[in-house]
Amino acid sequence: MIKVENLSKSYGQTQALKGISFEVADGEVIGFLGPNGAGKSTTMKILAGYLLPTGGGASVDGMDVVKDSLEVRRRIGYLPESTPLYTEMRVDEYLRFVARIRGVEKSRLKTALSRVVELCGLQRVVGKTVIELSKGYKQRVGLAQAMIHEPELLVFDEPTSGLDPNQIIEVRELIRRLSEEHTVILSTHYLQEVEAVSTRVIIVNLGQIVADDSQENLVSTVETRGLKARIKGPADKVTAQLSELLPGHPIKVLSKDGETTLFGFGLGSKKKDDSFIGDAIAQLVVKNGWELHELIKEQASLEDVFCKLTESDRLEARHA
């Protein structure tokens, strides 16, 4: 559906995008991840038809974003960062305006309006002025305007930034529902968001793509952090026996709380290590009559992947 080839964009001297390429298939939900100024918004603005690229190209449904700009814009629903809305208009007036400007036929206007009102849960505020709305509702109005013309592709730039936790959950739920019928590209700072809604992750940093893969694959490229166990028993004895049982896994006493001790286990490079260690600890505890109070597996998250990828890039930039 989307094909981006060697896309670059400069603002005067600053190069915001340094030739990125990726493709998006129908029905995919892409999470765009990256620190501020990485080029997420720039990419989305080019796709949405707001900005012109400096080099390279992008197409939606085989249509060029520059040459067939109007046609591309018809197929996209776009929500810019910070959700700009006409604050003095009523919600229904605003949505009707967007529907008309986007060419929704007069006869279908009413249906289109009630569809997005229901989908975005705007029933209670549809007669209110935009300025009266809470941030969460404003965000929903922003999402509603993006889909009123039933576009094939939805492009959301940081759809949950600035919302409170409850609102974030609501908006994410909404996006997940939308993703069942649309192709979605969304950018975010929140890693949980990508984990919650998207099927594929593209991490950008300093105008370049540093990773483009499914979540599972990305996470598996980073080692699991380790394992923690809280055991009730004599600390020195436990340490001695465990290090004998698990050679190659450094054991540390992390904290002591009365009779219980929190141990940390380093992991080897093999993926199955964590369950192996878990089993070994459990058996040892049972054999010695100690008590196992907690066994915590510290799994690598997308956050680790993100930090690792963007950090190495930051270092390079500093050395360059």
Binding site: Y11, G12, T42, K45, A48, G49, Y50, L51, L52, L70, E71, R73, R74, I76, Y78, P80, S82, P84, L85, Y86, T87, E88, M89, E93, F97, V98, R100, I101, R102, G103, Q145
Partner: protein, 245 residues
């Protein structure tokens, strides 16, 4: 065309729901009526031209207030970005907003018809010149509006847009005054042909001839080119945003 009308309707709507429109309307209409009545009292003549005599100066100060919002607010709110991702050409956006401002002013102007009507009760009103004056006023207003809208597209601050419009309109007005041109031509540093070009630019000059009842098609062409120039410049400013971001 459809898109232009949709934009125009939204802008008109936002004129009517903003308090500025009502303040503007009351001040404009009230001011015009007051000046006309003072004219009648002092001169003792019930001539509609009294109403139009001050119009170029009044427009100078009030029309920038009508146009300052048009783009500056969109830029400030960030709605311009969204607007520019709708399947609409920039020219249609510009035209829609321009027509909205012009329609709003036309509506206000049409409310002043009560003045010549009142006068016709007490004396004979020559309707030809009245009609010509209305047409001339709206043509001149179009020129002023296109200048104001252009400045509005250059900034995100409405006050700055207003001040820039006011300054440039005052300059254009001055260029239409023969006395001012005389001063210019007496200077050795400015060649004569520059002075005559400058003199030809001012929308005020053309208004004078129309208001006198001389309706020349060249005046119409002048106003259309003047508006066309500024509206085109306006669309270029917006198109540049696609490059600069």
């Amino acid at each position: 065309m459809h898109e232009t009308m949709v934009i125009m309707r939204r802008e008109l709507h936002s004129y009517f729901i903003s308090p500025i429109a009502y303040v503007f309307g009351v001040l404009f209409l009230g001011g015009q009526m007051w000046m006309a009545s003072v004219g009648i009292e002092q001169g003792g003549i019930a001539a509609p031209y009294l109403f139009f005599a001050m119009l170029p100066q009044v427009f100078l100060f009030v029309l920038p207030a009508l146009t300052m919002r048009l783009w500056a607010e969109e830029r400030k709110l960030g709605t311009l970005e969204l607007l520019m991702t709708f399947p609409v050409r920039i020219e249609q956006l510009v035209m829609g907003k321009f027509l909205a401002a012009l329609s709003f002013l036309t509506l206000l102007m049409s409310l002043t018809v009560i003045l010549p009507i009142t006068m016709s009760v007490y004396g004979d009103v020559d309707w030809g010149p009245v009609l010509a004056a209305y047409v001339g006023s709206l043509l001149m207003a179009s020129a002023y509006l296109s200048v104001g809208m252009f400045w509005s597209s250059m900034t995100r601050d409405q006050i700055i847009a207003m001040l820039l419009s006011l300054t440039s309109l005052i300059a254009l007005y001055a260029l239409g005054m023969p006395a001012f041109l005389m001063v210019l031509s007496q200077s050795d540093k400015i060649p004569e042909f520059v002075v005559s070009i400058l003199g030809a630019i001012s929308p005020y000059k053309y208004f004078l001839s129309i208001a006198r009842g001389v309706f020349d098609s060249r005046d119409l062409i002048y106003y259309m080119s003047f508006c066309g120039f500024f509206l085109y410049a306006n669309s270029l400013v917006l198109k540049a945003r696609r490059v600069k971001g």
